[in-house]
């Protein structure tokens, strides 16, 4: 695809987000409240809220190309399902989701044509959302759609994107698809695309509010501050452990030893039951799930660490974060046997030498 055949989008389709909000009856107060929530989540100073809201209102309705690769649709389920219509969901509906083959009615060639048309119209400006890992082994033959491998489709779609948002741990780091032994050579988007701004929003699935918050933040002020895994620091800046309401039980040494003991019933720390909170950066403990109803640890299960690279290969889910990551004990037993054998041989050699030396000494004394 090139920029030469780019079409201009009709003016009435390039409304600002403010105009769309007005049309949907979202009042100024409600919009400001939403922006205050986002800026607070992103640790911006309160004084920034008005400017943030102004920038967001002025932003053009963005075109989104949503490319699913090696995925399970869980991330999309997370994004589209909310128990009550919220401003977050409205924000998601506000964007022009021009291609998503799970949600759209079109299929086959018509769907691909729609995608190409949308990309041409917004070439260089659209946001590319990727969902799922990308298989790379054998020239990417393990994943293909419309006659093209996922690798090729990603390269093509990324070329005209203003930025790429990798949704879910699979698109971010390879996720389940990349779990050992990774038969398809699955990787995250950032392993393939190197020349575009990439924002990773990992999770299995990611929190909907984190997703919309990241998009809104991008629309208002560009790529947010990212950590070393390209995750927005605003949502992935703290560990689950640091923000966990059960942290006080960790500090006082009160742990659940099994899922049905007194500790579990009392809501004590789940560290010993394999909770990955200490090494997992995510916003579950603060934003929670299902409209702030609960989150895994509050429901009695330890964190799985699903927003971290290689979370699938960090030992058993019920083993602690410091557990060993190898199962082979045969080599250690072999080392023990070898240690005993070498030690015995060394002692026998030393004793033989000692005997020989003392025999010589006795001979010299008697002579």
């Amino acid at each position: 695809m090139s920029t030469s055949n780019r079409k201009e989008r009709p003016t009435n389709d390039r409304k600002t987000i403010g105009q769309i909000m007005d049309e949907n009856g979202v009042g100024r107060r409600r919009f400001l409240k939403y922006c205050a929530g986002i800026t607070a989540l992103m640790a911006m100073p309160p004084g920034m809220t008005a400017a943030f809201a102004q920038q967001l209102r002025a932003a053009r309705r963005p075109t989104i190309i949503y490319m699913p690769f090696q995925e399970c649709t869980g991330c999309l389920e997370s994004l589209t399902r909310s128990f009550a219509p919220s401003l977050e969901s409205l924000m998601f509906e506000t964007v022009s989701l021009d291609y998503n083959h799970t949600l759209q009615a079109a299929a086959g060639d018509a769907a691909e044509a729609a995608r190409h048309e949308a990309m041409e119209e917004a070439w260089g400006e659209y946001i590319l959302i990727c969902d799922g890992s990308i298989p790379t082994k054998m020239d990417g033959i393990y994943g293909a759609s419309a006659g093209h491998s996922f690798v090729d489709q990603l390269h093509e779609a990324a070329e005209g994107a203003a930025a790429i948002v990798a949704v879910g741990v699979c698109a971010s780091f390879g996720g389940v698809g990349a779990a050992y032994p990774n038969p398809t050579g699955a990787v995250g988007v950032s392993e393939i695309i190197k020349n575009k701004p990439i924002i990773n929003v990992p999770g299995c699935p990611p929190i909907p509010e984190v997703m919309t918050g990241t998009l809104v933040s991008f629309l208002a002020s560009g790529v947010p501050d990212l950590d070393n895994h390209l995750r927005p620091k605003a949502f992935f800046g703290n560990t689950i452990h640091d923000r966990c309401y059960r942290r006080r039980f960790y500090d006082t040494g009160l742990f659940a030893e099994s899922f049905d003991d007194e500790g579990a019933r009392n809501g004590w720390c789940l560290y010993k039951l394999g909770c990955r909170g200490p090494t997992t950066y995510n916003a579950c403990a603060t934003i929670k799930w299902n409209g702030g109803t609960s989150w895994p640890v509050e429901s009695g299960h330890g964190c799985l660490g699903c927003s971290e690279p290689n979370f699938w290969d960090q030992g058993g889910f019920y083993e602690p974060v410091t557990s060993k990551l190898f199962n082979d004990t045969g080599q250690i037993a072999g080392a023990a046997a070898a240690g005993v054998a070498v030690g015995a041989a060394a002692a026998l050699a030393a004793n033989r030498r000692k005997k020989k030396l003392s025999g010589q000494a006795e001979k010299e004394t008697s002579s």
Binding site: L325, G339, A347
Partner: protein, 222 residues
């Protein structure tokens, strides 16, 4: 592979192989060297000598009254950081779950100490270790008998203790990197252990026993 995965996986595996091999090599060699041939008659029975050997383990673990004034400080510091290290390693919750996982045991009876107390003990232990290090450097005879073995062991111990405290207090960087550094320091300690004076952990009690035992057999008091 992340640094934490490497430290908990490949490196820990190699470190354990080296540790088990090295420790058994040295212990088996030492214990198979046997007794020196004695031509004089034994003065005490084997059973009585064994009792005196056991008494010597206790006696020699306590400062001799005659030298108490000169050795009390060093002994107190030494005991202090050893007790601190044992408390942290054997009773700190993250360490207990590590050992249980490593040995594949459930051991629900294994107690843990609240992390607040462990944090205080850790800081005190680092402080005591620092005093012991300064004393080793400032005390002429101690300095003279110290070599690379002693100093390198102290470097590993400081790295281990400081990264542990940093992980607990969440300072100095991202938790998973500090934790990885902590586990790497532990792995280095495991690899270094069999070839260093750290082997005193295995030798010290049997050595005291055998000294008491042989002295008793010869008819000498300890």
């Amino acid at each position: 592979m992340t640094l934490l995965e490497f430290s908990r996986g490949t490196m820990l595996h190699i470190a354990l192989i080296v540790f088990v091999f090295g420790v058994l090599w040295r212990l088996v060699t030492t214990f198979m060297l046997g007794w020196r041939k004695r031509k004089s008659e034994w003065r005490t029975s084997a059973a009585d000598s064994a009792v005196k050997g056991a008494i010597a383990v206790g006696n020699r673990s306590w400062p001799h009254p005659e030298f108490l004034n000169r050795t009390a400080f060093g002994e107190a510091v030494g005991y202090g950081y050893h007790i601190g290290l044992f408390a942290i390693v054997l009773l700190g919750a993250p360490h207990v779950v590590f050992w249980k996982n490593l040995f594949g045991i459930n051991a629900a009876w294994w107690p843990t100490i609240p992390s607040g107390i462990i944090s205080v003990v850790s800081v005190v232990t680092i402080f005591l270790l620092l005093i012991a290090t300064i004393r080793r450097y400032m005390h002429p005879p101690l300095r003279r008998i110290s070599n690379f073995d002693d100093w390198f062991t102290l470097v590993i111990l400081f790295a281990l203790m400081i990264t542990g405290v940093m992980a607990v207090f969440g300072i100095g960087g991202r938790y998973e990197l500090i934790l990885a550094a902590h586990i790497i320091a532990f792995n280095v300690l495991l690899i270094w252990f069999p070839f260093s004076k750290l082997m005193h952990a295995f030798y010290i009690l049997p050595a005291r026993f055998f000294i008491g035992y042989t002295h008793a057999k010869k008819g000498a008091s300890t």
